[in-house]
C-alpha cells in the first residue's frame, strides 16, 4: 500500500525542514479556523491553493484527495440554506425559502475546509512519515507514542498484504458480499483472523526489538539542520498569515 503519494518531488516545500512546516501548518490551521468575515477565509483558501502550486503537485491527484471531504460538505449545502430562518432570502416563495445567510455559512465552511486540506497536502504531505514522526519528537511528543506510531505505520503494509490474501481466499471460495448474516459472519471471521495474525506478529516484533536492545524508544540517525531558507520561509509565511487575520 503506497500512502505517501506526495512525499516524493522536487520543490521548495519538499526540501524545507519538517519542523518549520509543522509550525507553519499549525499556525495556518488555527488562524484559518478562527477567521471571521468573508475575506480572510477566502484569502486563506487562495494561500492553500498557492501552497499546492508551490509544491508542484499533480493537480488531478490533489483534486481526487479533496473530493471525499467535499462530498461530506454537500450535506451542509443541502441543509443550511433551509435551516437559517432569517432575511434576506435569496429565493422566497410560500413553499421554499432559501436563506442568504445559510448559503453564506455553507460557503465559509467549504472555503475553510479546502484551505486546510490543501495546506495539509502541501505542507505535511511533502515530508515522509518518518521525518514527520522524528519532528514530533522535537516538539516533545512522548517517545512512547512516537514509537507506537513507527511500528503501527510499518505494519500497515504488512497487514494489508495479509488482508488481501485472506480476502482472495474468501473470494476463491465463492464469497459474494450481500445483505445477509452470512456476509457479516464472514467479515467478522476475516477480521478476527487478521487480529490473530497481528497478535502473533506483535510477539515476533517484540522479540526482535528486545534482540536489538530496545529500551523504550527508537534512536534517530538523521538529524535536522535549520537552513536560512527554512527560517526565511517560516518568517514570511507566519507574517502573511498574521496580517491577513488582522486586516
Amino acid at each position: 500500500m503506497h500512502l505517501e503519494v506526495f512525499a516524493e518531488g522536487r520543490s521548495l516545500l519538499h526540501i524545507l525542514d519538517p519542523r518549520v512546516k509543522i509550525v507553519s501548518f499549525t499556525v495556518f490551521v488555527i488562524f484559518c479556523v478562527g477567521a471571521k468575515g468573508f475575506l480572510p477565509p477566502f484569502v486563506y483558501f487562495l494561500i492553500g491553493f498557492g501552497l499546492v502550486f508551490l509544491a508542484k503537485l499533480e493537480f488531478k491527484k490533489v483534486l481526487a484527495r479533496l473530493l471525499p471531504a467535499n462530498v461530506f460538505l454537500v450535506f451542509f449545502w443541502v441543509l443550511l440554506p433551509f435551516m437559517y430562518k432569517s432575511n434576506p432570502y435569496l429565493i422566497e416563495t410560500p413553499y421554499l425559502k432559501i436563506s442568504a445567510e445559510g448559503v453564506y455559512q455553507a460557503l465559509l465552511i467549504t472555503l475553510k475546509c479546502n484551505a486546510i486540506l490543501m495546506a495539509t497536502i502541501a505542507l505535511l504531505g511533502t515530508s515522509n512519515v518518518f521525518m514527520l514522526a522524528h519532528a514530533m519528537l522535537h516538539f516533545k511528543v512522548p517517545a512512547k507514542l512516537v514509537t507506537v506510531f513507527f511500528v503501527f505505520y510499518r505494519y500497515i503494509t504488512v497487514l494489508h498484504e495479509e488482508y488481501l490474501k485472506i480476502k482472495r481466499a474468501a473470494l476463491a471460495r465463492g464469497f459474494v458480499p450481500k445483505n445477509s448474516l452470512q456476509t457479516y459472519k464472514t467479515y467478522g471471521y476475516l477480521v478476527a483472523f487478521l487480529l490473530i495474525k497481528s497478535f502473533e506478529r506483535s510477539e515476533e516484533v517484540y522479540r526482535a526489538m528486545l534482540a536489538r536492545g530496545f529500551k523504550g524508544f527508537f534512536p534517530v540517525l538523521n538529524h535536522f539542520y535549520l537552513k536560512p531558507l527554512d527560517l526565511f520561509f517560516g518568517f514570511f509565511f507566519l507574517t502573511v498569515i498574521f496580517l491577513i487575520f488582522f486586516f
Partner: protein
C-alpha cells in the same frame, strides 16, 4: 463519521483536543514497554479493518469496530484511534487535524466504556453471552460515536439540530452491522485464541 475541517467551532475543537489528550495521557501512562508492539500492530490491523466496506441495505459503509478496539485495547483505544485518524487525515484527507481531537474522543470513549462494562462477560464457556456482549459493544460504541458526533455539531450551532437527528438515525443500521461483525469476531477469537481476552492492557 468523521467531521471535516472548518465545520466545528473553536470551543468544541479545543474541548475535543483536551479530552483526547487526557485519554492519551492515561493510555500512555499505563502502557508498558512490553505492550508497545502489541498495541501498535493491533492498531495497524484495525486501520486495515477500517478500509473494509460492508454492504448495508442499498449502500455500503466501512467498518469502524471501535467497540472491538475498546474490548481488546481498553484505554489504548485512544492511541489506536488517534493514530488511525492521524494517518487518514494525512493521507486520505478524511477528517482533519483540527478535528482530530474531537473525532478521536467521539470514537474512542464509547470503546473504553465497553471495555469496562462488557469485557467481563466475554468468557469461553458461554458462547451466546459472549456474542451478545460483543454485539452490544459494537452496537453501543457505534451509536455512542454517532451521538457524540451529533452533539459536537449541535454544540457548534443549535441550528444544526435536524442534521444531528439525521446523523443519529443514519448511525442505527451501521451500528447493527458493527454489532453483528463485532459479535462474530469475539466468538471466533474465543474459539481460536482465547488468551487475547485474558491480558490486562
Amino acid at each position: 463519521m468523521h467531521i471535516s475541517e472548518g465545520v466545528l467551532s473553536p470551543p468544541v475543537l479545543i474541548t475535543g483536543w483536551g479530552l483526547t489528550l487526557i485519554g492519551l495521557t492515561i493510555a500512555l501512562k499505563k502502557l508498558s514497554h512490553r505492550k508497545i508492539s502489541e498495541v501498535a500492530v493491533l492498531s495497524s490491523a484495525f486501520f486495515i479493518a477500517s478500509l473494509i466496506h460492508v454492504p448495508i441495505g442499498p449502500s455500503a459503509a466501512h467498518l469502524v469496530l471501535n467497540g472491538m478496539v475498546g474490548i481488546l485495547l481498553g484505554w489504548n483505544s485512544f492511541v489506536a484511534i488517534f493514530l488511525g485518524l492521524l494517518l487518514q487525515a494525512l493521507f486520505f484527507q478524511f477528517g482533519g487535524f483540527t478535528t482530530l481531537g474531537i473525532n478521536t474522543f467521539n470514537m474512542a470513549f464509547p470503546g473504553v466504556i465497553s471495555y469496562y462494562l462488557l469485557k467481563r462477560f466475554i468468557r469461553g464457556e458461554n458462547q451466546k453471552l459472549s456474542f451478545i456482549s460483543g454485539f452490544l459493544a459494537g452496537f453501543l460504541s457505534m451509536l455512542g460515536a454517532g451521538f457524540f458526533t451529533a452533539l459536537s455539531l449541535y454544540l457548534t450551532e443549535k441550528k444544526f439540530l435536524i442534521l444531528c437527528e439525521t446523523l443519529i438515525i443514519a448511525h442505527i443500521p451501521i451500528a447493527v452491522v458493527e454489532g453483528l461483525v463485532t459479535g462474530f469476531i469475539v466468538v471466533y477469537l474465543l474459539k481460536i485464541k482465547p488468551e487475547v481476552f485474558k491480558d490486562e492492557v
